[in-house]
Symmetry: C2
Subunit: 221 residues, 2 copies
């Protein structure tokens, strides 16, 4: 497939993957998997004609990408105003060493979501803030005290629809020129993984309080 050929399944012209379009995916299940594998997204927005990019925690819940932060921050004021934004995520799964530097690559899973955010209505916010936390830090609600009214007031929770998004995934080994296969240079993949360690109690934790089982289980992932 030429990089100029339109991919009919892209949801919009601007989410169509132009480089290596054979690696593009546009189905919701794949998009959800990639977003769910990420803790942080990079939010891009325009301020005074300048593109800004800010990393922030993300949580995909149902068909939305949620972002939260201080109500006083510029990023959340921009999001709450419904300004155009893009959010990108990327996980590197491996270094791909070819016989030439030209064909070196990485294995990765990436996604870009574009759109305008909306503020989560007041009456949904408390529940969704628990779900947001649980997505990132898997703990039951009983592991926390209740939200305080002043906390709910200070926290902005916004969400982007997932209807304008693209995914790009590379897997597998190097793709060398046929002429290079006989060269005496090593070629292959060095896998990369993210691992959770043993939970470390806070210095001010009272004795005898057990680690939530869901947190301990992360280590097995």
């Amino acid at each position: 497939m030429s990089s100029d050929s339109p991919n009919p399944s892209a949801p919009s012209a601007r989410t169509r993957v132009r480089q290596a379009p054979a690696r593009a995916r546009y189905d919701a299940a794949t998009l959800h998997q990639v977003l769910d594998a990420c803790l942080v997204g990079h939010v891009s927005f325009v301020v005074d004609d300048w593109p800004m990019s800010i990393p922030t925690a993300i949580a995909r819940l149902d068909d939305w990408l949620y972002l939260h932060g201080s109500r006083s921050s510029r990023l959340y004021q921009v999001l709450a105003a419904g300004a155009p934004v893009s959010v990108s995520v990327c996980l590197v799964d491996g270094l791909v060493k070819a016989r030439s530097t030209f064909h070196c690559s990485m294995n990765y899973r990436s996604a870009v979501v574009m759109g305008r955010a909306e503020v989560v209505p007041e009456d949904e916010r408390a529940e969704l803030l628990y779900r947001f936390s649980e997505r990132l830090i898997p703990c039951p609600r009983s592991a926390y005290r209740e939200h305080l009214a002043k906390e709910l007031k200070a926290t902005m929770l916004v969400r982007l629809p997932l209807d304008e998004a693209s995914v790009k995934i590379r897997t597998g080994g190097p793709i060398d020129d046929a002429d290079d296969l006989a060269l005496p240079h090593w070629a292959g993949v060095v896998p990369l993984t993210t691992a959770y360690g043993e939970p470390e109690p806070a210095a001010d934790l009272a004795p005898g309080i057990a680690v939530p089982e869901m947190l301990r289980a992360l280590g097995g992932r």
Copy 2:
């Protein structure tokens, strides 16, 4: 420190960290460390008034942030034209579980570099492309065949100066409200690390070609 207080060491108003400014760093050594720990940056640029965010491989070499890609891609045309861009990186080092979801957080190292890229001059490109590869995939030059003229021609290598950048780092345990310390909820940190695995030879690799020692050594990092 109030989030409104100006930080005198920020290199420009727009790189000044506004949220949690006590976590900001602006020195070159810290910036280099954070960029060097990352393989991918998220490049933000403006197309038709819309902010785009694209993940791409990055390499910090000396006082520049290098990006490379196909000369035909839109991203590199934007970069080569010297359009305003921001590049952000973020590594998550841990999940920070507090007694309230409000004080939950992540430990992270992030950086934002802003500026306009320049195209690397023709006579520096071949050498810097080797250094770019080596930064991401640690292999000596002898592990590759030489660049081909057509490859050099097809590859765009651009660089951003690092003089307008900021770093933000969070470390340590949760910071709970004093009133919450006696609650029976666990609090602490679940560390996250990225690990390199054993190099996996390409399916088409001839027998008897050893893995470069530098690649195997990644597993010990």
